[in-house]
Symmetry: C2
Subunit: 474 residues, 2 copies
């Protein structure tokens, strides 16, 4: 792009959002560096609009100048979807200044919030109004609700409340043409045409820029209990899940499985967390039960369930947290697996899903395949079993240089795992999305007709390629 | 279309699906007449493919001949979306021969079924496997699951389980180009690209033809109880809804409100149903509570709730069904309102939604508006209050010829109601869809940017206008 044109665009952008909100100098690493620090891009400018109209005007200005935009929330994504390319020819559009909670409607059980609001602040606004906003994930202190929706974030409460998609009733979106789609209706039913809301959700900023959303609220449960159990196998964990669904119904809000090696890493690197029950069992499961009646009732239902599960042999040992501190500690162990992995050294992460019924066979065959093809490999298998979603990660062998291992084996490991996922009818990205990291893998693992439709949709809604080009679909 | 071309196309279709499954003569009214018997079209032919590949081949043949298709399930839609035009130039593609339940996966809590399976048969297949398939609506004995998905059907369990959309995990779809999208994954999480499933759901056969679906199953509740209460106003009904959410959580599976005049029609035309509590109150509410523990527990929770509601004055009187027969009778009263309306004479139906918090003001202002503008008009107000969805229907005045009333006032009544809906941020079609009946109303009541996006999507996926043209969007 000629210097004069760049200069003119930057002036135009400064005119729209104000001098102070067009950043071109200084430390821009928070906007240019991806969360896992694997890639760093270079922004033509970072633009921080303060209103929906400013977002629309920025899109129009960039489209007119044939400059593409990378929408960005908290920049906590794991698939390199929200940083600019290295060429320095893309504008980062940061939504962080748009963080207002616009409205809470108690009778409609909804909250309307701007895209740049930090997830934790959304949770707190709901709680202050006496409600639960159930979306919850590791990055909640820095990710934004707009980013959660753009990537259809998952997290730990999906089993009961669904992904970000299922929690959203309406969106305000700026299109690739800089028009504003007003869809913050808060309606639970509206069959007047195509589902634009769900089309935008999960499109990672490639079809439109989400500027605000109306989200569902839930009554706060009267009590919430956490249990930690040892299971003799993955197959037993799946049977326990079925029993828990039957017994607790919608009370079952969490069901996380963790393999022995994953827990051993937590035990090694964070011994003060005192991981329970892990030494004598191949897998542990964390269950959560939310109850709208009372803690006593929740405990009774949980104990009944665990008694049945012990009788049936699905569970060999169990502890139920006695209080909130114990419960938090159990969740903390689960959430520390990723950090313990990092302490242990370099590793290869996956975020896969298969039908829940196929998980036992998937784990057995993929474990065996990897052990055979790459001797010494260590599998850190854990995840949201209740959603069929595993973070089936691979740690370098104990001996040798993990950097060399990753250099020589990362592509091979990915291919082995993804091919196994494909054989079991699964997905190579269950909750993290595609970004630029997996965009070139999709043709090998996704239905070709689906990819054709995706390309048609991208061309139809963003023919000039203004919005986050090269992410999700090429 | 020249006769020779028609002849060639019909031969081609006979070759694809077999002579017996291309109908051009005899009584085709089941395919050509809309459910409410307001319109009758004329089919070039009715084609009944027996497999997904046959559907794809039929689409290809019709597209090549520039003949458009009207996909059809049970033909029970209420917005004239599934019958051919009167010109005799459209092929009806009936999915009724594709009715197999392909698989039930108990551990994955899913059922995979072909589009032409009658909803009641889907429910029964689930029940025989020990599970609940919760989609339930008046036409369940003749509507198909494919039609339910194509129109994103609602019904009586939306409050707890969502619309048809929320119950679907995957689709098999034939595109406008006659390609097959294989998406029957049964995954609860898959973030590998745009949400094609939800784009197809609710598109009323204009973007693709749904040939099979993987649907969610739920554990069968241990008990289900029904209550019938009198409330002093719509505002009190909304407060009761909030209390019931808080108290019963996900146990609350039904919340239907019925106005006094609606119930008086049931009382007049079906006195044997013995409508309870309606005479001394402006509105009644039917509540349903499903419990995964026991009937005793369900009853206790219900009684606690009703006691609180009586104390707070949200409810003035209440009955809880003693047994299944009584519960069924209460639901039967609710479901008889539409029939009682028909017995009473011609009427104007609406299927609108507004945010739940706006329902009291919407009802008050719209009631007053109609009474002022059209003296003597009688309002049959009932519906799924828990979803913000009312069937706010209008019965002709008691005196005078209802035919004349409809001729002179139907357009005016629709405009008054829809403008009021728009003022309250609502939808003019909450669960019935658009079809050809409401397609020309949309530009007056829907966001213009949304309509532009819809047209772009239609052009992108079906540039030749092969699939159900003129429905949903022009």
């Amino acid at each position: 792009m000629p210097f004069a044109d760049t200069h003119e665009l930057l002036n135009r952008l400064r005119h729209i959002v104000g001098e102070a909100h067009v950043l071109t100098e200084g430390d821009l690493s928070a906007y240019e560096q991806d969360w896992r620090k694997r890639t760093r891009g270079k922004a033509l400018a970072v633009v921080r609009p303060g209103s929906t109209q400013e977002v629309a005007d920025v899109v129009k200005a960039c489209a007119a100048a044939s400059v593409s935009l990378v929408p960005q929330g908290g920049n906590t994504g794991l698939v390199v979807g929200s940083i600019p390319s290295e060429a320095g020819d893309q504008v980062v559009l940061s939504l962080l200044r748009m963080h207002a909670v616009r409205a809470i409607d108690a009778d409609n059980l909804t909250l309307t919030v701007e895209a740049g609001c930090i997830l934790q602040n959304v949770q707190q606004a709901a709680e202050q109004a006496g409600f639960l906003f159930p979306l919850s994930l590791g990055a909640e202190g820095s990710c934004t609700i707009g980013g959660n929706l753009a990537t259809n974030a998952g997290g730990t409460q999906v089993l009961r409340y669904g992904n970000a998609r299922e929690l959203c009733l309406g969106l305000e979106v700026v299109t690739a043409q800089g028009e504003v789609l007003h869809g913050l209706s808060g309606l639970r039913k509206d069959n007047t045409g195509y589902d634009l809301r769900n089309l935008m959700i999960g499109s990672e900023g490639t079809l439109g820029i989400i500027t605000a959303a109306t989200m569902k609220l839930y009554p706060m449960p009267a009590a919430s209990l956490t249990a930690w159990v040892a299971v003799p196998s993955v197959a037993h964990a799946v049977k326990l899940l079925g029993l828990a669904h039957q017994h607790l119904g919608a009370g079952l809000t969490g069901f996380e499985m963790m393999g022995q090696f994953a827990l051993s890493l937590v035990d090694t690197h964070y011994p003060h967390l005192r991981v329970p029950l892990w030494q004598d069992t191949p897998y542990c499961v964390l269950l959560e039960n939310a109850d709208n009646e009372s803690e006593a009732h929740a405990r009774q239902r949980f104990e009944d369930l665990l008694e049945l599960a012990l009788e049936d042999g699905y569970v060999t040992d169990a502890v139920v947290a006695e209080n909130l501190t114990q419960a938090r500690n159990l969740w903390h162990i689960r959430e520390s697996i990723t950090l313990a992995q990092a302490e242990e050294g370099l590793n290869i992460k996956h975020d896969i899903s298969v039908p829940i019924s196929s998980i036992p066979a998937f784990v057995e065959t993929t474990d065996a395949l990897l052990a055979r093809e790459i001797p010494g490999v260590r599998l850190v298998n854990f995840g949201h079993l209740g959603d069929g979603n595993l973070h089936y990660n691979v740690q370098a062998p104990e001996l040798g240089d993990p950097k060399v291992f990753l250099r020589d084996h990362e592509t091979q490991v990915n291919a082995l795992v993804y091919q196994s996922v494909k054989r079991f009818g699964g997905s190579i990205s269950a909750e993290h999305g595609v970004g630029s990291m997996k965009v070139d893998d999709l043709p090998d693992y996704k239905d070709p007709v689906a990819l054709t439709l995706m390309r048609q949709l991208k061309r139809a809604l963003d023919p000039k390629g203004t919005l986050n080009p090269g992410r999700v679909v090429r």
